[in-house]
């Protein structure tokens, strides 16, 4: 085949497009303005016959790039998928006829809309090439699991069962973790009525017996290098470096540390031997082994036990945990059952042992939670909605009953505090950097560094992974010290590709959830290995072969791309140039959006592939009273929301031209300035929710875009344009009614402030 570019433009007349639009005119525009080699219309383009027409042209060499002017790029993806052929989709259905009224007066502007989209598609395709996989890495079917608790063990077993080599690194001298300290656990299957075996023992046995699994006890990870498919991990035991293991992906199952209950002086934890934590009760239950549970102080059989929920948790008091640890309500129900069940098996009436759970909000997550609560009630466990003000040394619990609205006391033999969990998430590099910056600044200004800052800096935190990444030694954290994993859409996906967080290191959870987590993380770890081997993105653009490259001659070594990449994919070489690790890259384009000199691009997505679309639009004369609005919509949520608005036939302005982007993070400010310079009257950016409860598929992309756009005001000023001409919105996929309103709002703004003076 020759290198000559031959673009075939195919215009669909189905779904009423033929009736609503002048497709002959569209063909003509594609040919004359779009300069395509051939333009054809078809009554039913996605049908067998229509697809065959395109395939025949491709086979005969009549065309080697394709523009499909039909429905949204999100529809009919199977029909319009031509392997190895760059394809641009022009959205005439959801983007034009479905959002416009079918009236005579609307006809002209509707047709103009369609014509512009055809121009844009023809412009885009010129800058789209077929991506070829990077050959950066091979396939290494070895999974590293960090942590030998129930999460790590489950992940290891799942990966080994799927045929992968596994290494487990455990800091302590035995597998089992926190789950190994439990007597029983809350039930994981119907009828969810009784505590069940933890399953830890057989799990350990299975791992020890599995030839694919290597267990490293008393060991830690002292260094991690590389990228998915080619990690190199150094394992150290004490001060001895044991081994360097090459692996394809990593599962971090570093678990949790119990909250230090000695901080709860109001509950006499440090002074009273019979005030204990849930984890300590597990040890008593283990010792009792089905017989009467005895209290620590004098070995007396416990007849009256009180559980204090949310001890030092869900509280904004100094030193308390702000969050709910998720398992503690079910754990207290389970532990109250220890007393009831043990009584029954030792021939005592379970009602003679009083078990009271004092809660302010009872939370029993999971499928069986409600059943388990009910079973607890059935066994005679008393639940009281109450806040506990104090526990005295002799076990007198002072409470305020919130149902009866009165103060009360219970004389308990044993008080169990439901204290929370703290994630073992490694170092918080972001916070360390922040503290260091402030400290340096204060010192430079000869000001005193506050003591609490010095204290915070002084607390040593052990790194879990010791990543040799420019962006830090550990997985980034989100809130309350938990490792960031994409909590809303893609759990386990951390901000370090190929490294998956599972279990309480990413959010509070119980053993069953941790095991589900482990299974999911194992699957993702396997996917990362396989995709890396093929040079494909792991997630969320799974299968994407494109990856960013940069033009070295233009690069100013500003390092903005390294700083802004949400995934730590970009390292710097010795000269300070960016060094891409394709396998770590998620292909969001945030680096492309960040680059001030615009040297970063993908084969099929670049400054030009979008910029030329912006320029391809026909900008009518100022006196035509036809403004032009540009919408850059994130393809993950905003663009689908627009499609769904169209499906609902919600109308919006005919003056708008929408371009989907991979992520708002990929939006380079040059697109905005170019648009305004070329006469657009307003620009609307639609991305996902940012912040701690982000919905951005690329975690930080939307946030980056917001930061960049906050600075666009200066640009507007130099152009002598009103600030209101650029708007940035956070949009959820469910904002189906809102997205057309946002567009119309901008149309109104333009109507009020007038047309742009930049129309030529």
């Amino acid at each position: 085949m020759s290198d000559e570019v031959k673009i075939g433009a195919y215009i669909c007349k189905g779904c009423d497009l033929g009736n609503r639009l002048n497709t002959d005119q569209l063909e003509m525009i594609a040919t004359r303005e779009g300069r395509v080699a051939l333009a054809k219309s078809h009554d039913f383009l996605c049908g067998e016959d229509g697809v065959k027409m395109i395939q025949d042209d491709l086979a005969s060499g009549e065309a080697n790039k394709v523009v499909i002017a039909a429905c949204s790029r999100r529809a009919k993806t199977d029909a319009f998928s031509f392997e190895g052929v760059p394809t641009s989709r022009v959205n005439l259905r959801e983007g034009v006829i479905w959002v416009r009224p079918e009236t005579d007066e609307a006809q002209e502007t509707t047709q103009e809309m369609a014509e512009d989209y055809v121009r844009m598609g023809c412009a885009e395709i010129k800058f789209m090439a077929n991506p070829k996989p990077s050959e950066e890495q091979g396939t290494n079917r070895h999974v590293m699991v960090v942590g030998g608790g129930i999460t790590g063990m489950t992940a290891a077993l799942e990966a080994a069962r799927a045929g992968y080599q596994v290494s487990i690194v455990e800091k302590s001298d035995a597998l089992g973790g926190t789950a190994g300290q439990l007597y029983r656990r809350a039930p994981t299957r119907a009828p969810y009525a009784d505590p069940e075996d933890t399953g830890v023992e057989p799990l350990i046995q299975m791992l020890e017996d599995d030839a694919k699994v290597t267990i490293y006890l008393n060991s830690v990870i002292s260094s991690t290098d590389g990228a998915p498919g080619r990690f190199n991990i150094e394992i150290t035991q004490g001060s001895d470096q044991l081994e360097i293991i090459s692996c394809g992906s990593i599962i971090q199952a570093s678990g949790m540390t119990p909250y230090d209950a000695s901080q709860l002086t109001e509950f006499s934890y440090s002074d009273a031997p019979d005030v204990i934590t849930q984890l300590e009760l597990e040890a008593l239950a283990k010792a009792a082994d089905g017989g009467p549970i005895k209290r620590p102080s004098d070995g007396k059989e416990v007849k009256n036990v009180v559980f204090v929920q949310c001890a030092g948790q869900r509280s904004d008091k100094e030193g308390h945990l702000s969050y709910c640890s998720g398992h503690c309500c079910n754990t207290s129900i389970k532990q109250a059952m220890y007393f009831k069940d043990n009584a029954l098996s030792s021939g005592t009436d379970p009602l003679d042992i009083q078990t009271t759970i004092l809660f302010s909000d009872l939370r029993t997550p999971g499928a069986g939670g409600e059943d388990f609560y009910r079973s607890g009630q059935d066994k005679g466990v008393t639940f009281r909605k109450a806040t506990v003000s104090a526990v005295s040394k002799d076990g007198k619990v002072s409470l305020n009953d919130l149902i009866l609205d009165e103060e009360d006391t219970i004389d308990a033999d044993l008080v169990v505090l439901a204290t929370g969990m703290i994630p073992n998430s490694g170092r918080n590099n972001e916070r360390e950097d922040e503290l260091q910056t402030i400290k340096t600044q204060l010192e430079a200004e000869h000001k005193e560094v506050p003591q609490e800052m010095l204290d915070e800096i002084a607390i040593p935190v052990e790194s879990i992974l010791n990543l040799n990444y420019k962006q830090g030694s550990d997985l980034p954290q989100l809130v309350s010290g938990f490792n960031d994993s994409h909590f809303i859409c893609f759990p386990y996906e951390t901000r370090r590709t190929g490294i998956y967080a599972a279990g309480p290191t990413r959010r509070p959870m119980d053993t069953q959830q941790a095991q589900e987590d482990a299974t999911g993380a194992a699957m993702k770890a396997i996917q990362a290995i396989e995709n890396a081997g093929k040079g494909m993105a792991a997630h969320p653009r799974s299968g994407d072969l494109s990856y960013p490259t940069f033009r070295k001659e233009g690069c100013t070594q500003c390092k903005r791309c390294m700083m802004e990449c949400p995934f730590g994919a970009i390292h710097s070489d010795e000269k300070g140039y960016p060094q891409y690790n394709e396998a770590r890259c998620r292909r969001c384009g945030t680096c492309m959006g960040a680059c001030p000199v615009r040297v970063i691009s993908f084969e099929n997505y670049s400054i030009d592939s979008v910029g030329q679309q912006i320029k391809a639009c026909d900008i009518p004369d100022e006196f035509d009273e036809k403004p032009r609005l540009l919408v850059l919509a994130c393809e993950n949520d905003a663009y689908p929301a627009l499609d769904m608005a169209a499906q609902n036939r919600f109308e919006y302005s005919a003056f708008v031209r929408v371009i989907p982007v991979r992520c708002l993070g990929s939006v380079n400010t040059i697109w905005i300035t170019d648009a305004l310079n070329s006469g657009y009257d307003g620009v609307v950016l639609m991305g996902c929710k940012k912040g701690d409860d982000y919905q951005c598929h690329f975690v930080k992309g939307s946030e980056m875009a917001h930061v960049r756009m906050s600075k666009i005001a200066d640009t507007l000023q130099t152009l002598n344009l009103e600030e209101e001409r650029v708007a940035v919105h956070e949009v959820a996929i469910t904002d189906i009614q809102r997205v057309p309103e946002l567009i119309d709002d901008m149309a109104k703004v333009v109507e009020e402030i007038g047309m742009s003076p930049f129309k030529f």
Binding site: D378, T382, F383, L404
Partner: protein, 208 residues
């Protein structure tokens, strides 16, 4: 306080829930209340309760024995069954209220002058006598349940009502002499006596 009450209070010291489970009609369901309060919001006597059923259940679990048994709250139950129909946990709330009232009466803990408690006893005595209710006698004893003077006043106040009932033949003066009855009175009485004995014996056994 009766001896039985004292004995039971001591026997179940600090574990009123167990006492209720053992001795009160449908009392074992008290533990299943999830404190949603739908019963409280559904009760037609809402304005007159001191403690809603929801609170009564909580009080039982919080060992508030005296407060519960001496309460006049259970006696507000009109047996409308709204609470039962609406309870998401399907607790037989009406029956538990009846059971608690009956248990409180057995232990002599009913507030003095509780009118429904008095009327309920009159009703039972009336029906137990001949196996069928004698409405005329029941009405008269109701009027006089708070003493003779009060009774005359109440009766006078209801004079028109009584006349209406007589006029429509929905009340009969001749019921005052004899009136309706089951035929097998001795069998009927023997049955009731046995049932009452069995019930008392079970509760007394729990007090020992």
């Amino acid at each position: 306080m009766s001896d039985l009450n004292q004995a039971l209070a001591e026997k179940y010291q600090g574990n009123f829930l167990k006492e209720v489970i053992d001795n009160v009609e449908e009392g074992d369901m008290v533990r299943m209340c999830m404190q949603c309060g739908v019963c409280a919001g559904s009760c037609p006597m809402g304005p007159h309760w001191e403690h809603t059923p929801q609170k009564i259940f909580m009080m039982i679990r919080a060992n508030k024995r005296d407060e519960v048994l001496q309460s006049d709250s259970m006696w507000m139950c009109t047996s409308c069954y709204n609470c039962i129909a609406r309870c998401p946990r399907e607790l037989p709330i009406t029956h538990i209220m009846h059971g608690l009232a009956s248990y409180a009466k057995r232990l002599n803990l009913v507030p003095k002058e509780q009118p429904t408690a008095k009327f309920a006893q009159l009703f039972w005595d009336n029906l137990a006598k001949k196996g069928r209710v004698n409405e005329l006698k029941l009405g008269i004893s109701l009027y006089f349940m708070n003493g003779f003077g009060e009774g005359i006043k109440v009766a006078m106040g209801n004079q028109k009502l009584g006349m209406n009932m007589l006029k429509t033949k929905r009340m009969a003066i001749n019921e005052a002499w004899g009136g309706h009855s089951v035929k097998d009175k001795s069998g009927f009485h023997a049955m009731l006596k046995k049932a009452a004995e069995l019930e008392s014996a079970a509760i007394e056994a729990h007090s020992k």
